[in-house]
Symmetry: C2
Subunit: 193 residues, 2 copies
């Protein structure tokens, strides 16, 4: 062995994530990252290879956090359908809250980088797929429990819900009135009935 690493990896990832989330990949400079993480360039490069490497690690960190949050929202109630409604109501409140306007790091990245960076695109699709699977599972178990009509297609609905989340994230970027966000959510939730 030799000199041990001095920083907490998760701590650094959390701080870098906030920076990327705030400003996007391109606008966040290494000097920004040095400031927020309190690491020197050399340490960052030793640990993450490059700015892109740090960003990919950050994406993973964000996805982990998100999956946990969504899983919790979906299983807070006994009813899977109510869980989904729960999730969207929370999302609506976030969109209107003080930290509004931040959209979602994954969605931001789809539009900012995915087209130009295959590595990022693949990583994103993996994470988004994981999240979609959570909704699919909830929809299927809703159907099993008889909450969701048997003639509905859970896969199609899961894809639709994902698209709706993305749309709501963009909506958040337009600084909408809370009532507007609620209205949109009410509309899309009627598809589950």
């Amino acid at each position: 062995m030799a000199r041990p690493i001095q920083f907490e990896r998760d701590d650094v990832l959390e701080k870098a994530m906030q920076a990327f989330w705030d400003k996007g990949y391109n606008v966040t400079s290494m000097s920004d990252l040095v400031n927020v993480t309190d690491l020197r360039p050399g340490s960052i490069y030793a640990a993450f290879d490059s700015k892109e490497g740090l960003f990919l690690a950050t994406l993973d960190h964000y996805a982990e956090r998100s999956v946990t949050k969504i899983e919790r929202a979906l299983t807070e109630t006994v009813s899977p359908l109510e869980g989904i409604r729960n999730f969207f109501r929370k999302l609506g409140r976030e969109t209107a809250g003080q930290h509004a306007n931040r959209s979602c790091l994954l969605v931001n990245t789809v539009l900012e980088m995915a087209r130009q960076n295959e590595t990022v695109q693949k990583r994103l699709n993996r994470h988004l797929g994981t999240i979609e699977a959570l909704f699919l599972h909830a929809l299927e178990s809703a159907q099993t429990k008889g909450e969701l009509s048997p003639n509905k297609d859970p896969k199609a609905l899961a894809a639709f819900l994902m698209t709706s989340i993305w749309g709501l994230r963009v909506l958040g970027g337009t600084n909408p009135a809370p009532a507007r966000t609620r209205s949109v959510i009410n509309q899309l939730l009627t598809l589950l009935e």
Copy 2:
């Protein structure tokens, strides 16, 4: 009078638009813009003040194009509701086509810049509002003609459709299978029934 301007403003805007659309605001450099427009920096700054000024002019140009396209799609048929379905089917085909993956300049910009640049945010909201008004008008006239149930709320539906467009644009960024896009569109269109 003095020396006349040598370039076609619309031609320059179209070329700059393609550049910004391809790569986003931040990644598109002045040197990129000099290359695609075939103007020298001085001419660009004389005509548009700054990179941001050129971008704002580009947004206006894009919005103009979009409004025309959407207006045409919505009025291609006698039935306003069929016009809306028309629009979404076209959007679905674009998402899968060769120029797919480009999303929409306005949507890209919402997530890339709006939060950090109030001027851009306001301009965007104006353009998006114009587009939403087109859908609202189509929905209202559908209701007048009896195509849309009187107990539906055109304003709520218009907001929902806008959010759906945005979601579909993000979906496009994930390089989806055409069937997936079609499925999502079918789902969201059922809200008009």
